[in-house]
């Protein structure tokens, strides 16, 4: 023997038939209100079924959501970390500047050294031009030569006016 609630649920689900249905309908005090309530219950049922279909993908959405949350919280954390650790602190900027200056100075010296020839040259001194004033020393002649074995270059001037010994004074 079904209770009234069981019969009501069965009627809503269209599972009451025959004599049982007739007896139930006859027992209703307001049949129109009951029919309206049945429709509402059916609408609610179909709505819940639709939502249940949507929730079949719940894991996927949950995963997407979690990933997004992780990303946002992750970037927020890294920004926060950067701000807290502050790689470009004044001290590091200072050392960075010193290092850059040192590298610049080193490169400059390397370039200058390449331009500056070594101090021990193999070349002998060269006489490029020479001249005596013909009015002062009309008989003067000049020659030049290099003593390669002694690494000495000589400019030999002949015919200059001889001077007395007092010209040897300091």
């Amino acid at each position: 023997m079904k209770t009234l609630e069981e019969k009501w649920t069965a009627w809503i689900d269209d599972q009451l038939t025959g004599r049982e249905l007739e007896e139930f309908l006859a027992s209703l005090p307001d049949r129109a209100a009951a029919e309206s309530e049945k429709q509402s219950a059916k609408q609610l049922g179909s709505f819940l079924r639709e939502q249940a279909l949507v929730l079949n993908n719940a894991d996927f959405f949950s995963h997407q959501l979690r990933e997004r949350l992780d990303r946002e919280s992750g970037s927020g954390r890294s920004e926060r970390d950067t701000a807290q650790t502050g790689w470009w602190t004044i001290r590091r900027l200072l050392w960075g500047g010193i290092t850059s200056l040192a590298v610049f100075a080193f490169c400059t010296v390397v370039v200058l050294r390449e331009k500056t020839p070594p101090s021990q040259s193999q070349y002998l001194t060269e006489i490029l031009t020479y001249r005596v004033d013909p009015t002062v020393s009309p008989n003067a002649t000049i020659s030049m030569f290099q003593k390669k074995e002694d690494h000495v270059t000589v400019l030999w001037v002949d015919g200059l006016q001889s001077l007395p010994a007092e010209y040897a004074t300091k």
């Binding site: 101090s119 040259s121 001194t125 060269e126 004033d133 400019l155 010209y167 040897a168």
Partner: protein, 147 residues
């Protein structure tokens, strides 16, 4: 470790750079010398001891007396200076450095008279010797050396 290593390397480079940059300065010694066979009154100038034998062979004199000198440290390679005695003066005008040598304009004066004018490329490893006028029983010799 790393934060201390970086400054150390930087300081090392700065020290090396400064020390190295200070090297190129060189000195040119210019001397007015009377070569003679007179008995020695003074020792031979230290600046010409390395070429003393060469000077003896060249001029046939045994004694070398310094009558005037100048020592100039070249920083830019474009300096000028004067080496002088009582009657002679050597005016030197350095016109810069070229191929391991200094280009020098030289003027030898006997008081106000210009005896000789020459332009030479003075090598750092090769002295320049100039034979000047006869003075008494000796000879005026001019020597320029990069030290």
């Amino acid at each position: 470790m790393r934060p201390r290593l970086l400054p150390s390397i930087a300081i090392f480079f700065v020290v090396i750079s400064i020390a190295d940059a200070a090297l190129p300065e060189q000195t040119v010694w210019s001397g007015l010398i009377i070569a003679s066979n007179s008995p020695p009154t003074e020792p031979t100038p230290a600046e010409i001891t390395q070429i003393e034998a060469t000077l003896r062979k060249l001029f046939g004199y045994s004694q070398f007396q310094l009558i005037g000198e100048a020592r100039k440290t070249l920083k830019t390679g474009e300096e000028d200076w004067l080496a002088s005695s009582k009657y002679f003066s050597l005016q030197v005008d350095s016109r810069g450095e070229k191929a391991d040598a200094y280009v020098l304009n030289l003027k030898l004066f006997q008081e106000q008279k210009l005896l000789l004018e020459t332009r030479a490329k003075l090598s750092k490893a090769s002295p320049l010797v100039i034979r000047g006028p006869q003075v008494g029983d000796g000879q005026l010799v001019i020597v320029l050396v990069v030290q």
